[in-house]
């Protein structure tokens, strides 16, 4: 731990060549949480960015070592809280894979719909926060209006708005609400109407375009080398959608496009996410009328025990590839669990792509990387 004098020294001293060293965060309006970036500046130009993590580290990996295979799922909602359903799905899929639990079709389809709704909600929040980083405050409220409909659907069916814990090994915790389908259809209808607003306010705006085009360019080679995934990598032309590579749940029976842009700049990342929302809507439309009847949860033993061995499950969250790696010794709790979080790898690229740009560009770059700090810190 720092002592008091060291902190003062740290913040007032200049860098080795007389540069300005600015601590952005842990409390800063643009770092969305408690990310701490030590930014070395030459005037307005960024020379170096050094992330300091750990302000919200809860040691989820260690915690999970003492939780059973039913219990550890709820903790993962707190990792990337914006795609908690998808995190839960990853864990449930892993347990199902490890124990060969048969998941009913109904559960698979509902999970897919919920995952896509979560993805839309996450991107909606991102689009608002991103516009706010760039100084446009109003799109935030418009984006939240649509997101509110999703959280209402979640509240009605799963009983919570953010950390749902609706997905259990074998299927769902309880059946969907009778109004689920009508509500989702109403959402799809409203979303299609309102998505043009973002075009007017954000996408087409000349200021927004000039702020994001050519800013924070990430090449495909770097994206691969830095282990980027999700929209960040896809904007650089790297095809990496786990839903296509290793389909899980009902993704193998729906038709959707993997959005790949080639520019690799902030605007491309923005476009990828906006188009992804439309693809998610497309997936939901295919499934919402075809939810099969039947059980919502498969037969499972009361006490879940994973066989001795190692298991790895990948899913595509809103931010990228989430991997759950479990080493099991055959007991009721994981021996070692590792979450490969998409945000961690995406953050590591920040220094590389923001170097040499202006402070204003850092906000655009950081905004489009879509960092969720609990996901990075775990």
């Amino acid at each position: 731990m720092y002592n008091q004098t060291e902190i003062i020294k740290d913040t007032t001293n200049l860098g080795p060549e007389g540069e300005l060293v600015v601590n952005m965060g842990p409390q800063h309006p643009a770092t969305h949480g408690v990310l701490h970036l030590v930014v070395t500046l030459n005037g307005e130009t960024i020379k170096k960015i050094e992330p300091h993590l750990g302000y919200i580290h809860r040691s989820i990996e260690k915690m999970c070592e003492s939780l059973t295979y039913r219990q550890f799922i709820y903790v993962t909602s707190r990792m990337d809280y914006l795609s908690s359903h998808i995190n839960n799905t990853a864990c449930a899929l892993l347990v199902e894979k490890g124990m060969q639990i048969e998941v009913p079709e109904r559960a698979k389809v509902v999970r897919t719909i919920l995952n896509e709704l979560t993805r839309i909600a996450s991107h909606e929040l991102w689009i608002g926060a991103m516009a706010m980083d760039l100084g446009a405050f109003t799109p935030f409220f418009y984006a939240f209006r649509e997101r509110e409909m999703i959280t209402d659907i979640m509240e009605e069916t799963c009983g919570a708005r953010l950390t749902m814990n609706y997905i259990v090994p074998g299927g769902l915790m309880y059946d969907i609400h009778p109004d689920f389908q009508t509500k989702v259809k109403a959402f799809v209808k409203q979303f299609k109407e309102k998505v043009t607003e973002y075009e007017d306010l954000v996408t087409g705006n000349v200021i927004f375009q000039s702020r994001t085009k050519g800013v924070g360019v990430l090449t495909a080679e770097d994206a691969i080398s830095y282990g980027c995934s999700g929209p960040v990598a896809r904007a650089s032309g790297v095809s990496c959608d786990i839903r296509k590579i290793a389909p899980y749940d009902a993704y193998d029976r729906v038709e959707f496009d993997e959005i790949v842009e080639t520019a690799g700049d902030s605007f491309a990342r923005y476009i990828v996410r906006v188009k992804e929302m439309n693809q998610s809507i497309h997936i939901i439309e295919q499934l919402i009328d075809n939810i099969p009847e039947g059980d919502f949860v498969g037969k499972t033993k009361n006490v879940l025990k994973l066989a001795k061995g190692e298991f790895y499950q990948r899913v595509e969250t809103a931010r990228g590839e989430l991997g759950v790696y479990i080493v099991s010794e055959g007991g009721t709790t994981p021996y070692r669990i590792k979450f490969r979080s998409p945000g961690f790898s995406n953050l590591s690229v920040l220094d590389h792509i923001a170097k040499g740009s202006k402070i204003g560009d850092l906000m655009a770059t950081m905004g489009t990387l879509d960092l969720v700090i609990p996901d990075i810190d775990r």
Binding site: E44, L134, I359, G360
Partner: protein
């Protein structure tokens, strides 16, 4: 008829009858100062509330609605809170400059009030170089901001102040050129004469397209000069936390905040005076009846209506657009606004010489 003009006239006559001219002038000065301070206080309260309400409506919210009916006392409550807060001065700050800066900014805003004609024959100081006075004084506000940024001994403040310096210095140019177009057309720097020249129609209407362009340029330039979004780089919230006033709290912060709104008010009054005819009512050609009805509306209402329309426009900008980057901001000025305004000024000069305007 009771008007601002008759009130001032009666007051002056009465004072001159009672006292010697020097004392009368002193008393008038005191009255003016008191009125100006009152106006500022009221304007601050009204404009902040207006801004919050406009923002709320645009953002599909209700806005402040708890303190008083419709939240009209919200800003008064906020002011009370700010007065009661401790005015912190950082340990390593340059204390004298740190405490001086908000007053410099505020003083500049107050000085700008002098030559503005609020109503028919209702003006503090009808100086014959009114427009020049305004453009010279308004460029001083950057000193206060630089002072605040430097004296805070905070890196964010320093960056914000430097941005602000670059920004105000460059946008002074196009604001000046936009003002010059009207000066060229009028042939006078005096505010009262500029207003008088618009008796048969506002310059915006009778000056053809070049004046419309000048008006647009003026609005953009003054938005930048008052550090308002989309040009609020000096206090870019998501980048520099609060820019040059990061370290300020309590009433010192409130002065900055107030000065921002007063500056908006001042530049909008100038815009209204130059382009929208000041206190002149709207007259359309030879529609005698219509013109007559328009004359019944008091001149002060006309003036305030025009000013608040411009203020609303600037608020509308703020809640719609993202912020520019610092180099793009300067690009916009030097590559777009300045060439356009130079060319525009040339065009207006030709129009003025040839007498093509109405």
């Amino acid at each position: 008829m009771l008007s601002l003009e008759s009130i001032t006239k009666t007051t002056q006559d009465w004072l001159l009858a009672k006292f010697s001219p020097q004392i009368a002038l002193t008393i008038e000065c005191v009255i003016v100062i008191l009125l100006a301070i009152t106006l500022f206080a009221v304007l601050g309260l009204v404009l902040v509330l207006l801004e919050r309400k406009v923002a709320a409506r645009i953002q599909i919210r209700l806005g402040p609605n708890r303190v008083g009916p419709g939240g009209i006392f919200q800003t008064a409550a906020d002011t009370l809170k700010l007065i009661m807060k401790e005015g912190l001065t950082p340990d390593t700050a340059d204390k004298f400059l740190f405490n001086l800066a908000p007053f410099v900014v505020m003083m500049v805003a107050m000085l700008l009030l002098a030559p503005i004609a609020f109503a028919k024959n209702f003006q503090i100081w009808d100086i014959n170089i009114g427009v020049l006075y305004i453009s010279s004084i308004s460029s001083l506000s950057v000193i206060g901001i630089l002072m605040a940024g430097w004296a805070s001994n905070n890196k964010y403040s320093l960056l914000g102040a430097m941005r602000s310096g670059a920004q105000i210095v460059s946008y002074e140019l196009s604001a000046g050129f936009a003002v010059l177009t009207i000066v060229v057309l009028t042939g006078s720097l005096q505010i009262s004469e500029i207003v008088a020249s618009q008796e048969n129609g506002w310059w915006l209407f009778k000056g053809h397209i070049p004046v419309v362009i000048a008006f647009v340029l003026y609005i953009i330039a003054v938005t930048a000069e008052t550090n308002r979004a989309p040009f609020d780089l000096a206090e870019a919230e998501s980048e520099l936390t609060a820019g040059f006033h990061t370290e300020y709290s309590g009433m010192k912060f409130a002065l900055f905040f107030l000065a921002e709104y007063i500056n908006i008010f001042i530049v909008c009054t100038i815009g209204a005076t130059l382009f929208l005819g000041g206190w002149m009512p709207l007259h359309i050609g030879h529609w005698e009846g219509f013109n007559h009805i328009m004359d019944f509306i008091p001149s002060s209402v006309w003036f305030m209506g025009k000013t608040f329309f411009l203020i609303f426009l600037i608020m509308w900008f703020r809640w719609t657009f993202p912020r520019l980057r610092v180099d793009q901001l300067l690009n916009l000025e030097w590559k777009y606004l300045l060439p356009i305004s130079l060319f525009n000024l040339l065009l207006v000069t030709v129009i003025a010489i040839m007498g093509w305007h109405f």
